[in-house]
Amino acid sequence: MAANNSPLPAGVTKEQAFGMAETEMEYRVELFNRLSQTCFSKCVDKRHVSSGLHLYFYGSRYKESELNMGENSCIDRCVSKYWLVNGLVGQMLSAGGQRPM
């Protein structure tokens, strides 16, 4: 989106620029939401057994409302990795000749 009085790219009307800005913003919001949902599912309120199995029980889920240290670290790492995957996929899409985000 053009800012600071810089002219719009050739052939792009102001309407189109607003449209693209809106699309970009919606994309970012959607990215955030999906990231948040995914990392919550992967990181929060899971019972880990050392063998790597995930177990959880309906009755005793959400024993507390605070996030513990393990969950916090998992969230940070999950966000970081999700972000990297987002970049990788973006690269692959633009390499394939698709419009890059």
Binding site: F32, G59, S65
Partner: protein
Amino acid sequence: MDKNMLAGLEGMPEEDKMRMASMIDQLQIRDSLKMYNSLVERCFTDCVDDFTRKSLKKQEESCVARCAEKFLKHSMRVGMRFAELNQGAATPDN
């Protein structure tokens, strides 16, 4: 998604700025409602499993309360990290 997005729009004419601000407002409202819906669905799915009565059991009520609070805290943390990554801030790989 917050008004910090407006920081990059200083040079724009007033009417364009207002149009952007109104777009961001609408997006924010829509996003909050979406979050509300998905949070309800998630906490219902995770906490409610007994359909012998219409009313919620005490246990189900507290589960929902904790679920919602936990997700909101999680969402805030994710928001912090997301903002860091958006700005290209380098963080240790640990």
